[in-house]
Amino acid sequence: MSADTAVGPTAAAAADPAAVPGARRRRQGEVVLEVSNISLRFGGVKALTDISFDVREHEVRAIIGPNGAGKSSMLNCINGVYTPQEGRITFRGRTFDHMNSREVAEMGVARTFQNLALFKGMSVLDNIMSGRNLKMRTNILQQAFRNPWWSGAEREESEHREVVERIIDFLEIQAYRKTPVGRLPYGLQKRVDLGRALAMEPQVLLLDEPMAGMNVEEKQDMSRFILDVNDEYGTTIVLIEHDMGVVMDISDRVVVLDYGRKIGDGTPDEVRANPDVISAYLGTSH
């Protein structure tokens, strides 16, 4: 087997059968998010070393790399969960040396989690509704009393419910609206997680391994939903993924990390031809 075929799209080559006619229009815009010279250390462990890349509006940007390459750390820096020791992040013209997770969320960046952080005992509807939290204006007292004359909480809830219902329709999970999330299969929980992130009506969506642990069919579904989100809402998507086939199929540009360093950046074809990437994925003697 040549090195080239090993890195190329294999398992999920036909990840998006639905998008054949009228191929997806590339409509990337300005740079919305720029990461410059980020370094992150945990004590003596260097998780990220001098990473720089940018994300353009409306694109699907993938961050890939072998286990422990620093992909999730990178996402956590953008998201404000970790504070990098060096470097800056520029979001829509504002530059930060560290991000604050609430601020990030308010700026329109939403994320999903690798190990699902859903409320297992709550229904799908309530879980997605919780994504609307930042957009709610009424306070807890008004919500508790629900008096239509002075609180408006009920009217507000139905507005939010409408947004949530559109997401439920979009993700085709109508049948599970009232099902507790913990009872759903893994692939569907992932979809609910995506739904909750979408409920924030984000401009940038960070997806942490959206397809981990899924079977081929679930991966195809998820790929289609990601492309549909990108297409219908124009959401910019940054995703971390393990499955090379899927990544190469749905991304516009790919960043490759290995041992906390950036070893490649470019279109899927460029990355596939990059010798450093090939050796990182196939392994070389160190």
Binding site: A18, V20, P21, G22, A23, R24, R25, R161, E162, E165, R166, I168, D169, F170, E172, Q174, A175, R177, D228, D231, E232
Partner: protein, 648 residues
């Protein structure tokens, strides 16, 4: 009835403009379309279609789930004197090609992106398909195909056209005659190309009306439309009778939410094929097994009472006071809540048809107070031929001929039907039409059966499959393979059965065990097994199947006409019959002839009196690889009883 579908729709809109005509669950809420709104929508759509070039007698394909705007589209097409051709929404694009060419289709109205993609494929092989409209625009933003537009655009165009030509729509509707063609339904023949069954407004409305009068349907019925609209049953229940009676048709949110929507709507008039009722019962059984001990005990006791007296109470027969009290209590604690959970608490009339329904399954629903009945009919007869009257319901018959139907048995035992609801013709296929409809107007159903003492029709099998035994003690007796197979399949342990006996001296059968049911049974008995082949060969399992076969024999012996069809020998096959191996059709019907040829060695061994036989079979796995399965199968004798009543 001297009217047409669009005229009925306009009458409802004039008489009860604000009454609901259709409901659809969208974004979690049931949204209503009133008759007046529907009339406006249909008018706009019709004007738009006319402007797009739809002329009288044109065929317009309609594909999708049950959606209000697709229903309105069918009405709009009919308003112009054109013919809607509903096609199955789950068919592959290649399967649309024949109907599209056969009916010279130039336009199609479809539900969503999936259907648009298929229609574009059809267009590649049938270029005259110039215009395609879609209901749901999702995912279609970047399609730049010529002639592809949304229904919204069509409505807009139609509104403008209608404003410029007032009176056009009403003129078109008034110009239509009851004997104009109203719809065409393609039936999938088992061999060859599908045939387009042509029905007029008169044929469909005649049967819709007769069925409605039989069950006293009113405008207050609630119906859930969830089966494919291309199937005439759904079309009759949620289109023809909808317009004839003016009741409400509810469209579920999606295919996966049907059970939830059923519960929310609580239909009063309900139709489902046996497999749906079976699925419902299975879900109940599974949930009861997981329930606590007290609930299980209560359920068990209540069902015992229900089995004993429920069907009699349903049939209006006298039952002892103690039983009546026990049943009343059961109704309060178990049957009522159960009906509610199933979404059947408001059902006044429920029908099942299409295939034979197991007596246990049938009795279960009747015993908990659901008025489940059977009917007999087909696409060619506009469904309603025989229906079971309330209080005269039995598991093994399909009811009495209803108003306007004449039934006659041909010498071969084939059922002949004559009514005002028979098909006009098969489209562009006079030979096929002549084959099924004779000069006196009798339709040859192809089903074999007889009328029993109570005047009820009993279906045995397809006429061409009914054979005769040859030689032996039952020489010349009728052999109805499917009747026998169905009786076997009613046992949960038996998944498939194939009966042989035509021109042979006795009946023998191949049996497929149900891996899940028998596997569970074996586990409860601590019976270890390695896999399907091993389990199917266990002596305990053979014994289990033998009990089932002998019960069937006892049943058959009670029926003088069919006593000869008792199964005297059987074997349990080492592999599951599979459509991928050509043993079943795609709709899971056994291909008896093919199986007989493929397992000739086994058949010879059974009729040759041997007790076991080695067999090796090639199988095709789901990923396309092939392999071999081999086993030595035991052939088991089953007890055959003498006929209880001698044939006169």
């Amino acid at each position: 009835m001297q009217t047409t579908f669009p005229r009925l729709m306009l009458e409802h809109a004039a008489k009860r403009p604000t009454a609901p005509a259709l409901r659809e669950k969208v974004y979690g809420i049931w949204q209503t379309t009133t008759w007046a709104q529907l009339a406006v929508l249909v008018r706009d759509l019709a004007c738009g279609l006319a402007q797009a070039g739809v002329r009288r007698a044109d065929h317009v394909v309609v594909v999708g789930e049950n959606r209000p705007r697709l229903y309105a589209s069918m009405l709009a097409v009919q308003s112009l004197g054109a013919v809607p051709v509903p096609l199955y929404q789950d068919a592959a694009a290649a399967e649309y090609l024949f109907p599209a060419r056969n009916a010279e289709v130039r336009m199609a109205i479809v539900e969503d992106q999936e259907q648009v993609d298929k229609m574009l494929e059809v267009r590649a092989g049938h270029p005259p398909l110039a215009r395609i409209w879609y209901d749901n625009p999702r995912g279609l933003r970047n399609y730049a195909e010529p002639g592809l537009e949304s229904l919204d655009a069509l409505v807009e165009a139609g509104r403008a056209h209608g404003a410029a030509h007032p009176g056009f729509f009403d003129g078109q509707v008034q110009a239509a005659r009851p004997d104009d063609v109203a719809a065409m339904f393609f039936t999938s023949g088992t061999t060859g190309n599908p045939k387009g069954v042509v029905h007029t407004h008169r044929t469909l409305l005649d049967r819709a009306g007769a069925g409605a009068r039989f069950d006293k349907l009113t405008e207050r019925e609630e119906v859930l439309a969830y089966l494919p609209p291309a199937w005439i049953g759904q079309n009759i229940f949620s289109y023809a009778q909808w317009l004839a009676c003016g009741y409400v048709v509810n469209c579920p949110e999606s295919a996966s939410t049907v059970m939830i929507d059923l519960k929310e709507i609580g239909p009063t008039y309900y139709f489902a094929p046996p497999r749906v009722f079976e699925g419902l019962l299975t879900s109940v059984t599974i949930r009861m097994e997981d329930a606590g001990r007290i609930k299980r005990w209560l359920f068990g006791r209540a069902m015992e009472v229900a089995r004993r007296v429920g069907p009699q109470i349903m049939d209006g027969k006298a039952v002892g006071l103690a039983d009546r009290i026990a049943y009343g209590l059961g109704n309060l604690l178990v049957y009522g809540p159960l009906r509610n959970t199933l979404g059947l608490s408001r059902v006044r009339v429920a029908y099942t048809a299409g295939e034979a329904i197991g007596p246990d399954l049938f009795t279960f629903y009747r015993s908990i107070g659901v008025n489940l009945k059977q009917l007999y009919g087909s696409t060619e007869t506009a469904v309603f031929v025989c229906l079971q009257p309330d209080h005269e319901v039995r598991a093994d018959t399909v009811g009495v001929p209803i108003e306007g139907v004449e039934i006659r048995l041909a010498d071969s035992g084939e059922i002949l039907v004559r009514s005002a609801g028979l098909l006009k013709e098969y489209y562009k296929n006079p030979e096929a039409t002549a084959e099924v409809k004779d000069a006196e107007g009798w339709y040859h159903t192809g089903d074999a059966g007889f009328i029993d003492a109570g005047g009820h029709l009993k279906i045995i099998d397809r006429a061409k499959d009914v054979g005769r035994l040859l030689g032996g003690p039952n020489d010349g007796a009728m052999f109805a393979p499917k009747y026998v197979e169905n009786k076997l399949k009613f046992f949960p342990f038996i998944k498939e059965a194939v009966a042989f006996g035509d021109r042979r001296e006795k009946v023998c059968a191949f049996v497929n065990i149900d891996f899940e049911a028998v596997g569970n049974w074996a586990e409860r008995r601590n019976l270890p097994y390695a896999g399907y082949v091993d389990l199917a060969g266990k002596p305990e399992v053979l014994e289990l199947v033998r009990e089932c076969v002998e019960k069937v024999n006892a049943d058959l012996a009670a029926d003088a006409k069919l006593a000869g069809s008792q199964v005297s020998r059987f074997l349990v096959l080492h592999k599951e019959l599979d459509a991928d191996d050509g043993e079943l059709t795609r709709t899971r019907k056994v291909r008896r002839g093919y199986i007989g040829d493929k397992y000739q060695a086994l058949l010879d061994a059974m009729y040759g009196g041997r007790t076991e036989q080695y067999i090796e079979t090639a199988v095709r796995f789901e990923d396309g690889r092939t392999g071999k399965v081999s086993a030595t199968l035991k052939i088991v004798d089953a007890k055959v009883l003498p006929a209880l009543r001698q044939a006169a």
